[in-house]
Amino acid sequence: MSTVFDRGQEQPKGDAAAAERTLLDVLDVRVRYGGVEAVSGASLQILAPQIVGLIGPNGAGKSSLLAAIGGQAPVAGGTVVVDGHEVTKQPAYKRARLGIVRTFQTASVFERLTVFENLMVAGVGHPGASLTRAFFPSAALGAAAETARVEALRVLEELDITGMRDTYCSDLSGGQRRLVEIGRCLMCSPRLLLLDEPMVGVAPHLVRRIGETCLRIRDSGVAIVIVEHALEVIEEFCDRVVVMAFGEVLDDGSYEDVMKNGSVRDAYLA
């Protein structure tokens, strides 16, 4: 059976290091909220396929950097380049259409939609999500909607949440909401997946399921950035670690190398 994780991407599976290429280039990015500078000239490159753990103490600027990449926060300086296209000034929805898809620090499900509908909203190309097509649905639209339906059922199965497909998301637990968020991202066929603290409030068995899901997504050729405080999660599932503190990138390397860095330990203990 084919899965949501092997939908014909050209990248090799399993051997993540074999065909790595630069997907995201963040250069000297600054994010300001009023008079507060949350990100002060951060630079990093994200390769695909790769899982990058973004760690740092509270207030380090991790979520703000994710928002700058995803388009939720205005970039006050610097550039964000995705696969050769500069997206610094582009709104979030245009970046999402380029394959930059994200989850949020607080699980952002559509509460008055069912789990299945949450996935269908994110169907590739958003079948029918135009007023003209709403008035004049075509055979092509019907076929696209059917493709999205089948895809949504596959995602439900992969994440083992088929049984709750008709449940309103307002009735889900925190961990289940996380799974729905990730499932929704999968429906978008992401190229770069930004996960903001996906394990917070999640039961241990779901942490493992989310982590293993990330590995399978990576193996299908996708780059993933995970903001996470649980270092054991970072150690187990991430190929590379970027450390932030005070709005800047402090270190970048393997988990072992980063943990040997004294300034990283100081930043965490500060």
């Binding site: 059976m1 084919s2 995803g70 388009g71 939720q72 709104p91 979030a92 929805y93 245009k94 999402a96 259409r97 898809v101 994200r102 949020f104 952002s108 499900v109 559509f110 509460e111 008055r112 939609l113 069912t114 299945f116 509908e117 949450n118 269908m120 909203v121 994110a122 169907g123 958003h126 079948p127 029918g128 999500a129 135009s130 007023l131 097509r133 709403a134 008035f135 649905p137 055979a139 639209l141 019907g142 076929a143 909607a145 059917e146 493709t147 999205a148 339906r149 089948v150 949504a152 059922l153 596959r154 497909r165 008709d166 309103y168 968020e181 929704r184 978008c188």
Partner: protein, 335 residues
């Protein structure tokens, strides 16, 4: 009694149109359009000034812009276009850059400003006295009908328009567009992060709602033949919204039921009651009852009498999705 019933049918049709229009803006997209009544009002004014003819001669007792004399049904179409055009302008101001709570305040202010402008600028729509002697649609062609028969003919026409609008709403309500709107209603940032152009979709639904609101105003002014600022105070929006919330936000039939209860049972029927207390007490009690009804629904049954429909997933491969009608032969095999 027949006269009263036909009047009730027209009023109910107009009220339901307005409630459905507000429902697609508020229920589907979460736009707190507290200025809704001004879109109905502009439709009524537009239909009036393109059917009254020049403000001279028989109409010299009132002043207004345009003064055309378009035949039926053009005034009705103009009413819809006027509602949509105003929605486009107001939408740019109120929906594109503001957070939802600020939107609500801005809409309320726009409703107050609109009322003051129209009341104060007599040259627009005859100020606070309003427009009168608006020609009834096809009154000449149907001159052989008695007053009662004409009333019922108008009631029938209103019903036809109402059903036609319902069919349109049902059609677009089965689309991915409507689902995307409901998603953006629940979480705008998350919807944008999935690639949905929330601002554009919200503007679209706002304009569609404006067109329907304008149409309802055009229908109403053709029936009552007069229109003035006293009839479209901002509080009217709350009566319409109470029907939407009471019946069930984002449910067409719920909105129909809620509108019947609020506009007919609680606003029209009390006019049959014998006067008691000081003059106007019944009118005031109506608003008190509407206020309490709104509070009671929010506390006891926040999703309304008939809640928003739950769309269940279809598991069979090639089966119709709950939201789409697939043409024959279209289907994708499952895994």
């Amino acid at each position: 009694m027949s006269y009263y019933l036909s009047t009730i049918v027209v009023y109910f049709g107009v009220d339901v149109l307005a409630a459905w229009a507000l429902n697609i803006q508020f229920g589907w997209a979460g736009v707190p359009n507290f200025a809704f009544i001004i879109f109905q009002a502009i439709g009524a004014y537009a239909a009036a000034v393109v059917s009254l003819g020049p403000d001279s001669g028989a109409n010299s007792f009132q002043r207004y812009i345009v003064g055309a004399n378009l035949p039926f049904p053009l005034p009705l179409l103009v009413a819809g276009v006027a509602g949509g055009a105003l929605a486009l302008i107001v939408g740019v101001i109120a929906t594109l850059r503001l957070r939802r709570d600020y939107q609500a305040a801005v809409f309320l202010l726009i409703a107050l400003i609109a009322s003051q402008v129209v009341s104060g600028d007599v040259g627009l729509f005859n100020g606070s006295n309003g427009l009168a002697a608006v020609p009834q649609p096809l009154a000449g062609a149907l001159s052989s009908l008695s007053l009662g028969q004409y009333q019922w003919a108008y009631a029938g026409f209103t019903t036809v328009v109402t059903v036609a609008v319902l069919l349109v709403i049902r059609r677009i309500g089965r689309s991915g567009w409507q689902r995307a709107l409901r998603a953006s209603r629940d979480d705008e940032a998350a919807a944008g992060a999935l690639g949905l152009n929330v601002a554009a979709m919200r503007m679209q639904v706002f304009v569609v709602g404006g067109v329907i609101a304008g149409l309802s105003g055009g229908l109403l002014v053709g029936f009552i033949t007069a229109w003035s600022p006293g009839g479209w105070g901002y509080a009217e929006t709350f009566a319409i919204l109470t029907g939407v919330i009471l019946g069930g936000v984002s449910n067409d039939w719920g909105v129909l039921l809620g509108t019947f209860l609020v506009q007919i049972v609680f606003i029209e029927v009390p006019s049959f009651l014998p006067e008691f207390g000081y003059p106007g007490l019944i009118d005031k009690l109506e608003w008190i009852v509407i206020g309490f009804m709104w509070l009671a629904v929010l506390i006891l049954r926040p999703r309304g009498i008939i809640p928003e429909r739950r769309y269940r997933a279809k598991l069979e491969s090639g089966a119709e999705d709950a939201r789409y009608k697939l043409p024959a032969g279209v289907g994708v095999g499952g895994s």
